[in-house]
């Protein structure tokens, strides 16, 4: 293992190389582009034994990766924002076909207006598709989870595709020291590719023709849901296996910071969780016991883990970097629904911040949390469930 200064995008590219991806299909879009530039360089230099399909659109990027994965090899692509929306039809198709492959999403807001900065609208727009979806906090996690995602998606209990998200620029173009595992270590961790079926000449499989009985079709949707539930176990196991080899683990679906004695919980995902940790430290200096829950995997949703921590909370504040317009932030909606369904009556509030990439500092987070907590401490409830926070 060597420590190498890597941007989030290069960490993703190294992960794909270490996973021995055989087909890369990609189309340029800011801020994802340097991932596939790096992979193209690896392939052209002979450092990576893979085919690069330089497609004419993102729809085709995922289509080609899907074709390759259906044909029996490890396939990879990466995109952002409009690119992800353009391939949305394929996103559903790949999950429905139960074909494991890995895609890295450098999260970027959606236009108009044109805007390249990070929010989570693009990633969260995919959450109903049947993919495993995770969001990394730092570049080490980008590398680790991209490698692990191959193992998770190719586990027979799962057999679904997976996305690894990282925030535009905050991670994608920011250099951090990253522990780069050796090829032998990754080879010992990743078994040869497994998948439910392989398209092969002479072997007549029909994938995707019209079903005679819609009971079967509905069962297929239920199976995807069940497999995502199963994936919770697999994600935990793989986290532990990776820990044994590298000494790094994150705790599976969520990662907690100062939760043990916390009264008030902040929930978020992605790079700004680092700022949430800082904010929690500052608030604790003021005597407010704040804990941070980082949602690592948004699909499958960490229902049980969250309930474990939140059942006795005084309040829960969910930070979203994207909104389901006309309702509330996507992460908040999941958290609130599962609390309610479990009968947990905790004051819960949604802070929408950083939407469209507006910069958010740890001081902003501390400020928003301080005001919210003050209200709960005084009245026992939040007067509003949703707050658009533009900064101090």
């Amino acid at each position: 293992m060597v420590v190498k200064p890597l941007t989030g995008n290069y960490a993703a590219a190294y992960a794909a190389k270490l996973a021995r991806v055989k087909v890369v299909a990609a189309y340029p879009i800011t801020p994802q582009t340097t991932i596939v530039e790096k992979l193209a360089q690896f392939i052209d230099n002979g450092e990576m034994d893979a085919e690069m399909i330089r497609v004419e659109s993102e729809h085709s990027a995922l289509a080609a990766a899907y074709g390759a994965a259906s044909g029996g090899v490890r396939a990879f692509t990466a995109t952002s924002s409009h690119g992800l929306l353009y391939m949305h039809e394929m996103v559903w198709w790949v999950a429905g076909a139960r074909v494991p492959l890995v895609m890295v999403i450098v999260t970027r807001t959606i236009g108009p207006p044109w805007n390249i900065w990070s929010d989570h609208s693009d990633l969260m727009d995919q959450r109903d598709s049947g993919w495993i979806i995770m969001m990394a906090e730092h570049n080490q996690e980008v590398l680790d989870e991209t490698i692990k995602m191959f193992k998770i998606t190719e586990d027979p209990r799962v057999f679904l595709p997976g996305m690894v998200g990282l925030d535009a620029f905050i991670l994608s173009h920011t250099t951090e020291p990253v522990d780069l595992p050796g090829q032998e270590l990754v080879d010992s961790f990743l078994p040869p590719r497994r998948q439910p079926y392989i398209m092969k000449a002479g072997d007549p499989i029909l994938m995707g023709n019209v079903p005679r009985d819609l009971h079967d079709n509905m069962r297929m949707r239920e199976d995807i849901h069940k497999s995502l539930e199963e994936a919770k176990k697999v994600i935990q196991e793989v986290d532990e296996e990776w820990y044994k080899l590298t000494g790094r683990r994150y705790g599976g679906l969520i990662e907690c910071y100062r939760c043990e004695d916390a009264d008030h919980f902040i929930i978020g995902m992605g790079a700004w969780v680092g700022d949430m940790r800082e904010a929690a430290d500052r608030l604790r200096e003021k005597g407010i016991r704040v804990g941070v829950i980082k949602v690592r995997y948004v699909r499958p949703f960490p229902r049980e883990e969250l309930l474990k921590w939140l059942t006795n909370a005084k309040s829960v504040i969910v930070f979203d970097r994207g909104v389901s317009a006309g309702s509330a932030g996507q992460l908040f909606l999941d958290v609130a629904a599962h609390l309610m369904a479990a009968g947990v009556r905790v004051p819960v509030k949604n802070v929408l911040a950083g939407v469209t990439g507006l910069d958010v500092t740890y001081e902003d987070i501390a400020d928003a949390v301080l005001k919210s907590v003050a209200e709960v401490e005084e009245t026992g409830r939040f007067s509003t469930f949703i707050e658009w926070y533009y900064g101090r």
């Binding site: 330089r54 044909g71 396939a75 007549p204 995707g208 005679r212």
Partner: protein, 297 residues
């Protein structure tokens, strides 16, 4: 070396009892395709009539690996599949089988992209000249004057010159074919399979349902398209264009049957006025002039 019926395999890889309409030209094309490639065939199918023709899951009439894929994606999926087969060292012929919509309209960027990259795929456009599966809507390959459910007074625009556009991609093989000439089609498919890179075959497929003719007459109508000169059979290897034998006589305009013989069999041309027929005749002459010039080079 021309092939004869005796040379064709007897094994049926496209089963009877499939879900095609009576007189379906795509069913003919699929039968010939399986005869041409046998068990090396792998097929990628965008939305279209063939999505239905293959039959209902968990059954199916196709005895060859079949990937059904979204409308605009077939050539990209096929490119990925072909890359995987190359990496795994498997002997396979990957065919993207799209209709006129899946090829020339919604799938056009994907087609052009795969052609430009010279991905190792055969794209066959089975051209029934409208969106038949959704109920006869016009496409860019619907001919001038044809009634469809989105052109009630007849389409006013001309048919896109798809095979010439593909020829200009400078891919190693471009051909036109017709379900009325199975041996010519089979030979072309086999030749395409022997060439590495992107191959394009434009298969003319008269549809009794959408064109409004007697389902017993599919082959007759397909042949009339060639005999009137409205459909020209050719192939181009590495850009070198040759008129195919069934079309050769009709390079001479005097040998061509009047296009009215072709048009009158089809209800979709019922609203054509005499001046429209003159326009169509002029289009036929122009198309031949272009092809003959390209053949001279």
């Amino acid at each position: 070396m021309p092939i004869s019926i005796k040379d064709l395999p007897k094994e049926k890889l496209f089963l009877p009892g499939n879900a095609s309409c009576p007189g379906c030209p795509e069913a003919l094309g699929l039968k010939y395709l399986t005869m041409a490639l046998g068990r090396k065939l792998m097929i990628v199918i965008p939305a279209g009539c063939t999505s239905i023709i293959q039959g209902l899951a968990p059954g199916g009439a196709f005895v060859f690996p079949t990937l059904n894929v979204p409308f605009a994606s077939s050539d990209a999926v096929a490119a990925g599949l072909a890359a995987a087969k190359k990496i795994l060292g498997e002997d396979a012929v990957v065919v993207a089988w799209g209709g006129d919509g899946g090829t020339a309209d919604i799938g056009f960027a994907t087609l052009s992209g795969a052609a430009e990259r010279n991905d190792n795929v055969i794209h066959i456009c089975v051209d029934n000249e409208a969106y038949m599966n959704t109920g006869i809507q016009r496409s860019s390959l619907t001919p001038f004057g044809a009634w469809t459910t989105t052109t009630w007074r007849g389409k006013r625009e001309r048919k896109k010159e798809l095979s010439l556009i593909m020829l200009m991609h400078k891919i190693p093989y471009v051909a036109t074919a017709s379900v009325g000439y199975p041996l010519d089609f089979i030979e072309k498919v086999r030749k395409a399979a022997s060439i590495k890179g992107f191959k394009f075959i434009h298969l003319h497929a008269p549809c009794p349902v959408g064109w409004r003719f007697d389902p017993a007459k599919t082959v007759h109508v397909a042949k009339l398209a060639v005999e009137t000169g409205m459909w020209i059979l050719f192939e181009a290897e590495n850009g070198k264009l040759r008129i195919s034998p069934p079309s050769k006589p009709y390079a001479d305009k005097s040998k061509r049957k009047p296009i009215k013989e072709y048009i009158r069999l089809q209800g979709r041309f019922r609203t054509l006025r005499d001046e429209d027929i003159s326009i169509l005749e002029k289009m036929v002459d122009d198309a031949w002039e272009t092809i003959l010039r390209l053949a001279e080079r």
